[in-house]
Amino acid sequence: MSELVRSSGNPIVDRIRAFARSFGLPRLIIAGFLLLLFIMAPFVGANFFTQLSNTLNRFSWNAVLVLSMVPMIHSGCGLNFGLPLGIIAGLLGGTLAIEVGATGFASFWVAVLFATPFALILGALYGFLLNKIKGGEMMIATYVGFSSVSLMCMMWLLLPYHSPNMVWGYAGKGLRTTISLEGYYNGALANFLQINIGHLSIPVGSLLFFAVLAFGIWAFLHTKTGTAMTAVGSNPNFARAAGINIDRTRLLSVILSTWLGAIGILVYEQGFGFIQLYMAPFNMALPAVSAILIGGATVNKATITNVIIGTFLFQGIVTMTPTVMNSMIHMDMSEVIRVIASNGMIIYALTRKSEVSR
């Protein structure tokens, strides 16, 4: 790494070099590891296409959650460890959709409809708070997420839900820990236009839905407001001197992130087939954070490409390691590997000198 910019005269070559340098060692290791897994898979008797399908499937569940990181990273609010807040809005939307009796495909859209106002309100409050504590966002976001999840734990018990599919049978009140979505929006997107060729199955609907949202974010970042958001994240002082209202821009990004989080969990649920309440949202932020970092994002820069690459790599490792590892060494170390790789990635990102040179 000693040779720095040795300009080749060709801008494209220089770009590629710069990319390789900025890609970072941890990311290369993870990508190489996944590649190795894919190569190994046929040798240990796992069908390549089944594996690919699994990965794609999990990709489609998680991609929107990872996408929800983008607006906040862009506006300089850092990694959104407060994702559980958006998830709560999504959970409220999902449970309300069931409560009002929406079923089937439509229930997904009803859930989205219900989740949106909650996401906007929670996101606004959250954004307001984050504006008060600029510089300390990440730690506080983590704990805002935790507090709201534990507050909601009480609420799930207390809120007057009645649908027999959701409440505890014996008590007649209080929501269950896991609610099956069978008959509701289970597979609402995944089954739409699904392609099945032999072992390969592609959840086109879910991927399409993600593509639409991703395009939306991409387009938003190309508008005037989106440009302002990026500038705020890149150098807030510059943005302020250019007449941008920083607090408002950040607030907007937080609301957007929270809303995407809410939609993200609904997409996740329709793939997974269950709503998980109570302590479940606790565990959702870290995988999403590390996925986008694995994809090449930093604490203050992220693109849609990062989201796609990161989610694919992360979910690829999650789905492939158990099968391959198990058949190779008869030890299921996948969980541990995932924990070490994903958190190692976050630490790596945190320790890299902030790229904004002040």
């Binding site: 801008p11 190309h222 990026t230 001197a241 941008i244 209202n245 790229e355």
Partner: protein, 534 residues
């Protein structure tokens, strides 16, 4: 020592350049034991660089070292770091306080030099587990406060101290060092009340009696005359005068500080433009402005700026000249009244200023002026896009305002050409990859792209090389002449202001101490600069 003839400190042919930019040349002087040396000069005259060399600061080494030699007691020394300088008996009190806020005066005076008591534990786990000898600490602190000769409460916590006491604590810390032979005081009286300043001067005399040599840097020339044995006047990196304090006076020193009669003045007269004939056409009127910009506080500024002129604002560092544009443009909290083209501009709101077609090129290029991690295109086009909806394509009846990357590229290319911005990758290059001079040009292009009626330019030539300097100044002049834009340029370099401006206002002590046409002799500006320094 036996070698009594050798002076305590001697500098021989010391020179220093930053990136082919000579900031110090051929510095020679001697300092005897117990002598008090006053060092004066404008900002940028090279005082602080000289002191940095003497104090072994790492910046000097990192930028290629210095030429010539520094001798202490007749022996050549090369300091690797300030710690070496401290060992050799040089102490320095910087302008910024270097104190631990929650510690008492005693703890600060003896910071990292606390007397210790050895215990069993420390024998095993190393000397850092020695306990502090509080009694001895108190005694040592008491002793150095006594040496200082100013009463300060050694048990008072620093963040509860009045600012003057902080200064005294710092000086006491240097005095507590037993090896101290030379003490450098960098503008120590700037934060002191008159009474405290007198006490400090008395204390400096006391030090000198005890054999400690003092290098005293200040803008308050009267103090120099009161306390110093010798005055060293610097200008443009050379020592222009080395005289006994008894043989000179304030006027003389001022003249030496700024004096350069021959150069720009005549030219300035010739280039005077339309401003003169339009004296009644006031474009901006500033009334009783105060700005809370740390280190550049503006206290009470009233100023009229004429349409189409180039007004310079000069003054010494820390006197508030930078606070004026920063306050008006809403980057720091401010109060007062600013009337622009007959309308009052609300303060503390950058957007409103920009909407009124004001633009600002900040002195803090990297912090405020640029998006270092973005392309030149973004840097140049961003404010114009946000403020004036330029470079945008509207869809759905203005609901969607799409960034027009092509238009942005075009305008960027235009400015890259016209300002000769050197960038290997063209308009897609990241701003952080440019040199300082080219970054400054980007900042100008950003302001030009706004097509303002009124432009504040703050320290446009700071830290850039000579070639770029000329280009930047020419661009500004051209912008003013061709587009008729009123320019207010803030700079620490008086010559630069005199070269480009029609009128120059001098700020001192947070107030305008006077406005003069640019062709007036420079000592007049000099005396304005120090008129109410505080």
């Amino acid at each position: 020592m036996s070698n009594s003839k050798a002076p305590l400190l001697e500098m021989k042919n010391v020179s220093k350049s930053f990136f082919a930019n000579n900031v110090l040349q051929d510095i020679n002087f001697k300092l005897e034991e117990g002598e008090v040396l006053g060092l004066v000069g404008e900002n940028g005259a090279g005082k602080s660089t000289l002191m940095k060399i003497l104090f072994g600061m790492s910046v000097i080494k990192d930028t290629g070292g210095y030429g010539g030699s520094v001798l202490i007691d007749g022996e050549k020394v090369e300091f690797e770091s300030p710690f070496d300088a401290l060992k050799a008996g040089i102490g320095m009190v910087h302008q910024e306080f270097s104190l631990i806020p929650g510690f008492t005066a005693t703890e600060n005076i003896l910071l990292n030099r606390e007397p210790e008591k050895v215990s069993v534990v420390s024998k095993v786990f190393g000397s850092r587990l020695n306990t502090l000898d509080r009694k001895q600490m108190d005694e040592d602190a008491e002793l150095s406060i006594e040496k200082l000769g100013v009463r300060i409460d050694k048990n008072m916590v620093v963040n509860q101290m009045p600012v003057g006491h902080k200064q005294f604590t710092e000086i006491a810390r240097e005095l507590s060092k037993k090896q101290l032979k030379i003490l450098i005081l960098d503008e120590p009286t700037a934060v002191l009340t008159e009474k405290e300043a007198d006490a400090l001067l008395a204390s400096i005399r006391g030090m000198s009696k005890r054999g400690i040599a003092v290098i005293f840097i200040t803008h308050r020339l009267q103090e120099i005359l009161t306390v110093c044995d010798k005055v060293l006047v610097m200008r443009d990196g050379v020592i222009v005068k080395d005289v006994p304090a008894a043989d000179t006076n304030v006027t003389e020193i001022t003249k030496w500080m700024v004096g350069r009669e021959n150069k720009g003045a005549a030219k300035a007269g010739a280039k005077r433009s339309r401003a003169a004939e339009k004296e009644d056409d006031v474009i901006m009127s500033i009334k009783r402005l105060w700005v809370d910009m740390p280190g550049e506080t503006v206290r009470d500024v009233s100023l009229d700026i004429y349409n189409g002129e180039i007004l310079g604002i000069g003054g010494l560092a820390g006197q508030g000249k930078l606070g004026i544009p920063n306050g008006i443009m809403g980057l720091y909290e401010s109060g007062g009244k600013v009337i622009f083209r007959g309308k009052e501009i609300p303060l503390n709101n950058p957007r409103k200023c920009l909407d009124s077609q004001l633009a600002f090129v900040s002195e803090d290029r990297r912090g405020v002026g640029l998006l270092l991690d973005e392309t030149l295109e973004w840097n140049i086009a961003f404010p114009a896009m946000q403020i004036q909806n330029k470079f945008l394509k509207s869809y759905l009846g203005g609901l969607i305002k799409w960034r027009d990357d092509k238009a942005i590229e075009e305008v960027t290319e235009k400015y890259i050409d016209s300002l000769q911005i050197k960038c290997s990758l063209g308009s897609k290059q990241l701003a952080k990859e440019l040199s300082g001079g080219n970054q400054q040009k980007v900042c100008l292009a950003k302001a030009f792209a706004l097509e303002p009626r009124f432009l504040f330019v703050s320290e446009p030539t700071r830290g850039i090389d000579v070639g770029a300097k000329a280009l930047v100044l020419d661009a500004l002049k051209q912008f003013n002449r061709e587009s008729g834009v009123t320019v207010v340029m803030i700079s620490s370099e008086l010559e630069e202001l005199r070269f480009i401006c029609d009128r120059i206002a001098i700020v001192s002590g947070g107030k305008i101490s006077g406005i003069l046409p640019a062709d007036r002799p420079s000592e007049e500006f000099g005396s304005l600069m120090i008129s109410n320094v505080r």
